[in-house]
């Protein structure tokens, strides 16, 4: 039986048992503790129903398979093109309506700076030079940032709250998130991350999946392009340093 059905069955069973126990205890046994126990069982049953309703339709194993196959496809494309340049994460106002990552096709010491919002295409031209061509890819962070009910703003507390609600709440990929900001740097500390990198080619360009999610959401919150400067484990926490590009 799927887990969702188990929660629902458990909830219904608890509610039924609670109602019967409360009824019998109050009217026949006249026992207050048992009546209270029945009422607590009803509350537990309703909460079980709520948790069953919120359980994902697609099993986590299937989600992991789709995630892995998607990442491998993008990694294969990037590897085939021989790209090694670092991606720039663009906010939705600069990309095609949702935050995306721009991978320059040609290595350039200077990060790409699109002069206008980019079209909704895979291969885009982001500048006036003939070599200013790149791949505009959707990352896991693009999808997550798109699903947020309220778009985070540039306020420090907002970005930390948004990242926390996504990483610790919605996706449960970490235990805690802390954000520190300078003028042009954003440092994010993630405690106990549960998403590890598989050392794919794509990690060199887009960063690890966790860094990619963080970069997409930061770009959207700041409404400025960001790039992943460095990431790694430090003092038991995963630190991601982003540079904000003006």
């Amino acid at each position: 039986m799927p887990i969702k059905g188990s929660y629902t069955l458990l909830g219904l069973g608890l509610i039924l048992m609670g109602v019967l126990l409360s009824f019998v205890s109050y009217f026949i046994l006249t026992s207050t503790p048992l009546t209270a126990l029945g009422m607590s069982t009803i509350i537990l049953g309703i909460v079980s129903l709520a948790l069953g309703k919120g359980h994902p339709e697609i099993p986590p194993e299937a989600s992991a398979l789709m995630w892995k196959s998607g990442l491998e496809n993008i990694s294969a494309i990037i590897e085939e093109l021989g790209l090694r340049s670092k991606a720039v994460y663009l906010p939705s106002s600069w990309a095609s309506g949702k935050p995306q990552a721009l991978l320059p096709l040609h290595s350039n010491p200077h990060p790409p700076k699109p002069d206008k919002p980019l079209p909704k295409r895979l291969i885009v031209k982001y500048g006036s030079n003939p070599q200013d061509m790149g791949l505009l890819v959707t990352t896991p962070g693009s999808t997550i940032a798109d699903t947020l009910r309220f778009k985070p703003t540039a306020m420090h507390g907002d970005l930390e709250a948004a990242l926390s609600s996504v990483l610790t709440g919605m996706t449960n990929l970490a235990d805690d998130v802390r954000v520190a900001r300078n003028d042009d740097k954003v440092i994010i500390e993630v405690s106990n991350p549960r998403l590890d990198s598989k050392d794919m080619w794509i990690d060199e360009c887009l960063g690890s999946p966790l860094a990619s999610i963080v970069a997409s959401m930061s770009a959207e919150a700041l409404n400025k392009p960001v790039a992943i400067e460095r990431e790694g484990c430090e003092k038991g926490k995963y630190t991601i340093e982003l540079s904000v590009l003006e």
């Binding site: 207050t32 503790p33 209270a36 709520a50 919120g54 919605m170």
Partner: protein, 73 residues
């Protein structure tokens, strides 16, 4: 469960006390485990509104008991 056992050990017979404590425990536990999945959160919110209304009802009855000197529960 522990609440029920502890209160019944003290021979507590006030049903409103049991219910009030359950409601407080419910809010504490849901707050500690939040945020939930959005769909679950909607149902949890509905349950919270209902239980809060029950809690306020119990408190209001207790206040009236004190003011009027009568006993309702």
């Amino acid at each position: 469960m522990l609440t029920t056992v502890a209160l019944s050990a003290y021979l507590e017979n006030r049903l409103d006390l049991y219910v009030s404590l359950y409601i407080v425990e419910y809010f504490i536990l849901t707050l500690l485990h939040s945020p939930f999945n959005p769909q679950a959160q909607k149902m949890i919110d509905v349950i919270s509104y209902v239980l809060f209304a029950v809690f306020i009802f119990i408190v209001a009855l207790k206040v009236l008991e004190i003011i009027l000197g009568a006993r309702f529960l």
